[in-house]
Amino acid sequence: MELIGIFKYLYEQLVATGIPQVWVDLISLVASAVIIFGVLALIALFLVWWERKLSADFQQRMGPMLTGWHGLIQTVADAIKLIQKEDITPTKADRPVFFWAPIICFVAAFAVYVTVPFGEGLIVSDLNIGILYIVAITTFTVISLLMAGWGSNNKYALLGGMRSAAQVVSYEVPMIVAILSVIVFVGSLSMVDIVESQALIYQWYIFRMPFGPIAFVIFIIAATAETNRTPFDLPEAEQELVAGFNIEYSGMKFAMFFLAEFINMFTVSAIGATLFLGGWQGPFLPSWVWFLVKTFGLVFVFMWFRWTYPRLRVDQLMEFSWKFLLPLAFANLILAGWMKYSGWFNW
């Protein structure tokens, strides 16, 4: 079954009704936005459940068991509970900043998916600056965390917000440089072009020796830091900063941060799968299945990190980024450029 066929059929039916083309485009855009929102909300809820189950497996526990089959609707219950919970704004908070922070975080997390190719042709809009757009939008998250930290008027929240700003800015650079080394090879910023250049398994960028694996590792490390997960979960370090930037948030606003965190994790995994693991490319199965398999595989790696490693200290984190990761990423970029130029490895 190819999803794209269904969408094409629906689109043709819409055109056949004879309404003006502008309306057709508008309706299809809105419809795709709704579909993506729904799918991502489901994925986020699933990821929360999966994380809890996985952590339980790592720790020889059961995890959620009593709400639904093996706790499958546990996160739904959590979400409904968070909706009905009282929404507190601290008296001394900076109200507009406090109010907008979770919304920006949530919207930014979803806005990325405009240019993520879920499968062959399954993309809302194939922008020719696709990857640039993604990198730009994901940066919004840090602004929202900074806003949350500042707006809460809480010292722990402020420390958490500052930490996250410092951290995301430092790891953004090696991540982009790692992405650049792929882009240098593809010669295009479009996500579809990137995927199409890795049609066969030995063309996946992770297998392009020697620069591919290095770029991939740099990307994974930087992405872990970008999504604020262990061992780089300093902004919400429970044992130091109680809950970090979201310490004052309750109810729905907290749920927004919570879901956005998981969606961000899915985002970076999707980017990783697209850039290094061939995106939707794969035999036999439908393209979107391949995409999901690869993305969830990367998500699993992130979760694995989280339940294994302790946390770094903030200065060690910075040192690691600026003194090790960044020089490595630049060297790798030069290597990639040289390989592309010499044409030796252009299979």
């Binding site: 526990r61 706790g71 409904i80 948030y249």
Partner: protein, 168 residues
């Protein structure tokens, strides 16, 4: 939540509108009961039992109960361990910081009524129920994890009986 609280008022004006109220009631109370996030609040011996209950053999997560470090995000405060006169204002502060609906479990003899420190102690608060409203009392010094489970299940029963009209 103000809006949800208004739903029964309007819905029941229509014939058969009661079904909306009851099903909303069911969904909300069930999800509240199966997702009681507890505040990481432990002072003395009971805190060790609370940790043990969260650990592998007993596993609180089965009931959907996970700990949150921030009182804003937790629904339930398990007062584990002795509350002294110095600590009592802090407990009250934490309870005030929690968002409605919020619940309190008094775990262990000390929080129920002073326990082993009822006599001859000048520093222990004799029972926490004159500081915060308590929903479930669990006696024991310290209570076994099984009795903590029993207390949490009792609390779930209580939560399931709540109606959305009652929310503040």
């Amino acid at each position: 939540m103000g809006i949800i609280k208004k739903v029964p008022v309007y819905a029941e004006k229509f014939p058969g509108g009661g079904i909306i109220t009851t099903s909303l009631n069911y969904i909300f109370s069930q999800s509240q009961a199966s997702s009681l996030w507890y505040l990481l609040f432990g002072t003395a011996c009971c805190a060790i039992e609370l940790m043990a209950t969260g650990a592998s053999r007993y596993d609180f997560d089965r009931f959907g109960m996970i700990f949150r470090a921030s009182p804003r995000q937790s629904d339930l405060i398990i007062a584990a361990g002795t509350i002294t006169k110095k600590m009592a204002p802090r407990l009250k502060l934490l309870h005030d910081q929690m968002a409605e609906p919020r619940y309190v479990i008094a775990m262990g003899g000390c929080t129920v009524g002073g326990g082993p420190f009822y006599y001859d102690s000048y520093a222990v608060e004799k029972g926490i129920d004159h500081i915060v409203p308590v929903d479930v009392y669990i006696p024991g010094c310290p209570p076994r994890p099984e009795s903590l489970f029993e207390g949490c299940l009792k609390l779930q029963e209580k939560v399931k009986l709540q109606k959305i009209q009652d929310w503040s």
